[in-house]
Amino acid sequence: MYQFSGKLKILSLALIIIGALGIGFSFFSAPKTVEESKEMIAAQISHGDSHDSEHAATTANSHDTHHDEKHDEHIFHQMQNKPWAALYVSLFFFLGISLLVLAFYASQRVAQSAWSVVLFRVMEAITANIVPTSIIMLLVILSASVFHWNHLFPWMADGIFDPTSKNYDPIIDAKSWWMNISGWTIRGIVYLILWNTYRWFIRKNSITEDTANDNYKTYKKNFHASVIFLVIFMITESLMSWDWIMGLDPHWFSTLFGWYVLSSLLVSALTVIAIVTIYLRSKGALSSVNDSHIHDLAKFMFGFSVFWTYLWFSQFMLIWYADIPEETTYFVARFNEYKLPFLSMVVINFVFPILLLINSDFKSIPWFVVLGGIVILAGHYVDFYVMIMPATVGAQWSFGIAEISALLFFLGIFIFTVFSAFAKVSPIPKGNPFLMESEQFHYFNIEHRGEESADHH
């Protein structure tokens, strides 16, 4: 049995506390009034920051009268959004990764795949992170829609759906059958409940499976539950990505956005499984995991990196080729104000995994996979950053205390929940009928350097 060491526990708690303090500071230091935000911008410009003035020029054209005043208020809202957006990027990233690990786990059960059985407990442990991130997500949902503490979603502003208001937006109003505050809140809560219910059920029953000895009745029950969950997941994942990310740019839409978010989260989820597995194996907690299992995880990391690029490019090329103004706004905003993170992210998430993981032998070298994995995770964090930031903070983006604190905070929660969940039960799912096949899993074309399972040749 694995012991959640005191050192790791202290590290995770320290990360949570440091992160929480940093998040608190970023909220505290956000401007409270329009005047304050103007002073902050003035201070920034005197430091020689030029990208803001470009932004002023572009927005000024759209407002004929009082444009200075309106512009100042706009900047003020963006700066107020900043700590929220920083929190939101990390929250979505960690919640999404845990969710996709859960979905991948369900897919392994549905496929009745054998190779991954020795990794089941690792995946189950990672899904434990869904619970705290869902609770925080619930609070963020409520604070956006019910309490109006933040303005992440521009369509939730006053008067958007009111034809007599000067804020009236006919494009959003036409979507009000879907894009309305009560529906959005209820849907968000429903997604979270559905995911957490399956997670709770499958974790409980997977442990029951170990000692059930009931002629695989429990095993079959878990299979059926996973089939149902996968269907629910595919629907809720698409809806979730429209509601929680695409809704940040309410005028814009992309029909493959759900897939795009899915691919980004999926490659991150497999990377996280690989890193956690390699860590636990190095601690001696996963005696039946051999290099072939690591090799398979790395193959998935490689494959889904390419899949992500495919979707990224598909979305880009169709919009580029059609050149319809209402669609291109999305990329114009990113090319104007986010050029460096936006383009470097594509290189990091595509070229880097290709070069690093294309060699079959490299895919089973643990430190190589961990190194590649950290770069992939960083790249996909930036991916979500450029999905969320342009619509919420515009030109006011930076990577500072707010963003780093949020990352550390959720990383701390991740470490704490995942490793305490892993320490709770036996690391080997004894009741699974494919356990032996998984332990003997052996891919012949690679050198096996690390710990070996019983090799029948």
Binding site: M317, Y321, D323
Partner: protein, 175 residues
């Protein structure tokens, strides 16, 4: 040239064959060839064959395909007959590049796949009208055949092969 004497040892299971190959290699005998009805994982390693270089050729063929695609799109769409499609810039390859990515991708795959298959056929000496080389038709059905050259050690080899679980052992003259 004098004819060469070889032993043909037959097996009817890939696992037994693999263990037999290891035993024969451990006893320092040279194995000429193993004929199988299907690919046996790990056999090349057990026989001590050098790792395949087809992956390297695949990479080079892919690069060739990519280059051909770049040359072709540039010649057709920019140089020879610039076409205005949807108002896209038609006088610069680079500015039009996103439109050519699918072509670049497809030709990379096309070249890598086809040339790899042809390379494999050439290396395996399989070309049109060539006569099959396998010594016994049963190796295309359900038997595995291990071919070992004999150097005045017929008895010793036969005894060893019987121990490894061969179902049939023939000594034949190879011309």
């Amino acid at each position: 040239m004098s004819s060469l004497k070889v032993i043909h040892a037959f097996y009817n299971d890939d696992e037994i064959l693999l263990d037999a190959v290891k035993t024969v290699k451990a006893a320092h005998h040279h194995i000429d060839e193993v004929f199988c009805p299907f690919p046996v994982h790990g056999l090349d390693k057990a026989m001590g064959l050098a790792p395949t270089r087809i992956a390297i050729t695949a990479f080079m063929y892919g690069i060739t395909g990519l280059s051909v695609a770049i040359w072709m799109t540039n010649y057709m769409m920019i140089q020879d007959w610039p076409q205005d499609i949807g108002g896209k810039p038609s006088f610069s390859w680079f500015e039009n590049m996103p439109a050519f990515v699918p072509i670049m991708f497809e030709l990379t795959v096309f070249f890598a796949a086809h040339l790899m298959v042809i390379t494999f056929y050439m290396r395996s000496k399989i070309w049109p009208f060539r006569k099959a080389e396998n010594p016994d038709p049963r190796t295309t059905d359900d038997h595995f055949l291990m071919e070992i050259p004999v150097h005045n050690n017929e008895e010793e080899l036969t005894a060893l092969l019987v121990k490894t679980g061969a179902v049939e052992i023939n000594v034949v003259e190879k011309h």
